[in-house]
Symmetry: C2
Subunit: 359 residues, 2 copies
DNA sequence: ATGAAAGCGCTAACAT
DNA sequence: ATGTTAGCGCTTTCAT
């Protein structure tokens, strides 16, 4: 008992100096006058324990607020009901997690994991270390699998992780030679919906705000070009601005267009954030939305519904996204095939472009 | 070796059927021709290993992408560098995590934890189970401490957790007889700032949108009343609407005022979300902001800067909030005293109430 | 129905 | 400088 007590007295690190020693199974066993094996069985509802014994143990544990140490249990069981969720950030631009779409995705994934009884380990990671560090939570055994929100131009490195059999699902665009399981929405279709709508509104000079070096905006741009082509409108490169997904993006894009001196009567922005900040900037330049410039956003984040003017946008099913990501990952972890999922996109017509001029 | 292999072959639960067996220290030791103790020392930069040996081991581990199993390490070290972050939800109202302020707080805490080298275990919890379940991640040994965003009217239960020595820091209002460590901002001061500003704009019929049954709005209301009193303006209960922090809150508050038939020339809303949705609704009722009704929000979430009209609001230092919460919690875990922290609030004057009528 | 004992992957005395 | 060994808190054979 001597060494035992000494070990228990040793308190350390990011540990437990404040709280007194955590209760453990041996304590419950001693107090209940049984072995730890019986306590374990009782707590895990094994049919091998006498009902009376089980009742006594459960009561004791509850009154003492004892819970099984999950770390030890996981170690013994070689299981892990925690999922790592990664939202990378671009070192060059901003460190703060403020993008409403990403935040909404985070909420959606959190809700889906909660529903499935999984915990969520949330990490941020600089994009330039994605390849080397994305798998760390898995390699260290902290999580059973990883959900990565966004590809961040690291397609190749993600493929390497998949080749290493890291259980991982990525939110992003479907790409050729994609080894990792990818869940995303129909970007080409979304781009077409937005552009077709603007054309139907009589717009012909439609600016495109979005970084076409990234897979998702690139596919939306393809949809945009396809819609223009269908109506015999030439694609004008001067109408495309490679805006990053940042609050400053919309303003900068409008300034860029101003500097180019190119005329335009509509904007298709690759996120609602870009659309909103662009509208704010257009207004500052004295251009009315939608009268002078019609604007269509992308995502349909909640704020779009009460922005002024209410935002016409391409809806990504954010709620369904979380469920789909989680479902695919759990399948992967289970050793089942997890094919790519493409969720539908849908045009939501509001005042910033379209009939509903009410707001 | 026989049993060993059998054990290794056993694959289970939310486990690892897909991936092949995870590498472990014993593998590295065997391949490097040393004992696991030496590998452990090398990987932990102990000065007790020969430089050459260490180099060989590190290289081997890196090339094999081996990382120490944190669960096992934690078990052995009785430490835990994971912090639980809880954002509760109200069962009656909404399940989805979409509140931009909460999301921003989450981002802020995540960034602060990352900076301190801690991982974040994120959970949602229904408010009606806060008392019983908030400590679960700690009781199960998953986390070394807990950050709870919001008090959610569970002051008493939170005190019980604190009495149980659960290392926990709560974002919220400072209350009398507060046993738990509380980090919040100056709500009374914030309420005064907002109201004083509206009075200075010549407004006299200032509506207050916020649920004064909750601690933070209650304190802001006290500031509001104090400012009115200082200017000899009577507090009119008909001007107060108990709006919940929901996207529907602003609209409902405006409808309520409409139904009451009470006249008002200003609104002080307890969150930017309420302010924005109220403005949207005022506009739908044909009332101009700020000409007919001046509106001041609360929080200064990022969107406030490009909302139309740009929102005058009481800034809560969201970035500092995350750092303060984390700092206090780490102190608590370290056994050091963690006194309550009250962060300053500050008025940000923009177009929705104030001089800057530009936007 | 219960207990003894081994072992999950790791670290730290204690040896050498 | 390195190996041996015990043990972190738990589950699960295998005995009884």
């Amino acid at each position: 008992m001597g060494t035992d007590d000494m070990a228990k007295a040793r308190q350390d690190g990011a540990g437990s100096e404040a709280a007194r020693r955590r209760l453990q199974m041996a304590d419950i066993a001693r107090l209940a006058g049984v072995s730890t094996a019986t306590v374990s069985r009782a707590l895990n509802n094994s049919p091998l324990v006498n009902a009376e014994t089980r009742g006594r143990i459960l009561e004791l544990a509850a009154s003492l607020k004892y819970s099984i140490n999950i770390g030890a249990q996981n170690l013994r069981l070689k299981q892990n009901r925690t999922i790592g969720v990664l939202i990378p950030y671009d070192r060059k631009t901003h460190l703060r997690l403020t993008d409403p779409f990403l935040l909404a995705m985070l909420g959606s994934v959190a809700d889906a994991l909660t529903e499935q009884g999984f915990d969520m380990l949330f990490s941020r990671l600089p994009t330039d270390r994605l390849g080397e560090a994305a798998a760390t939570p898995f390699d260290t055994g902290r999580v059973g699998g990883i959900i990565l929100v966004g590809q961040w131009g690291r397609h190749h490195e993600l493929n390497e992780l998949a080749a290493r059999k890291v259980p991982m699902v990525v939110w992003g665009a479907h790409l050729p030679q994609q080894l990792y399981c990818c869940v995303g929405s129909d970007n080409v279709g979304g781009g077409m919906l937005a552009t077709e709508h603007l054309i139907a509104q009589g717009r012909r000079r439609i600016a495109f705000f979005g970084d076409i070096d990234l897979p998702e905006p690139a596919q939306r741009y393809r949809g945009y070009c396809a819609a223009l082509a269908r109506h015999g409108i030439a694609v004008d490169p001067a109408l495309q601005v490679s805006s990053p997904f940042l609050p400053s993006g919309g303003r900068e894009a409008v300034e860029t267009m101003q500097a180019r001196g190119v005329d335009y009567d509509a904007v298709f922005a690759c996120s609602d954030l870009l659309a909103m900040t662009a509208i704010d900037s257009l207004r500052a330049h004295g251009r009315r939305v939608p009268e002078d410039v019609a604007v269509v956003g992308y995502d349909d984040i909640e704020q779009s519904a009460y922005f002024h003017p209410r935002l016409t946008t391409v809806r990504q099913p954010i709620g369904a996204a979380g469920s789909a990501l989680v479902a695919s990952l759990l399948a992967l972890i289970d050793g089942k095939p997890a094919p790519a999922v493409e969720l539908p996109t849908e045009l939501v017509v509001r005042a910033s472009a379209g009939e509903a001029q009410g707001s």
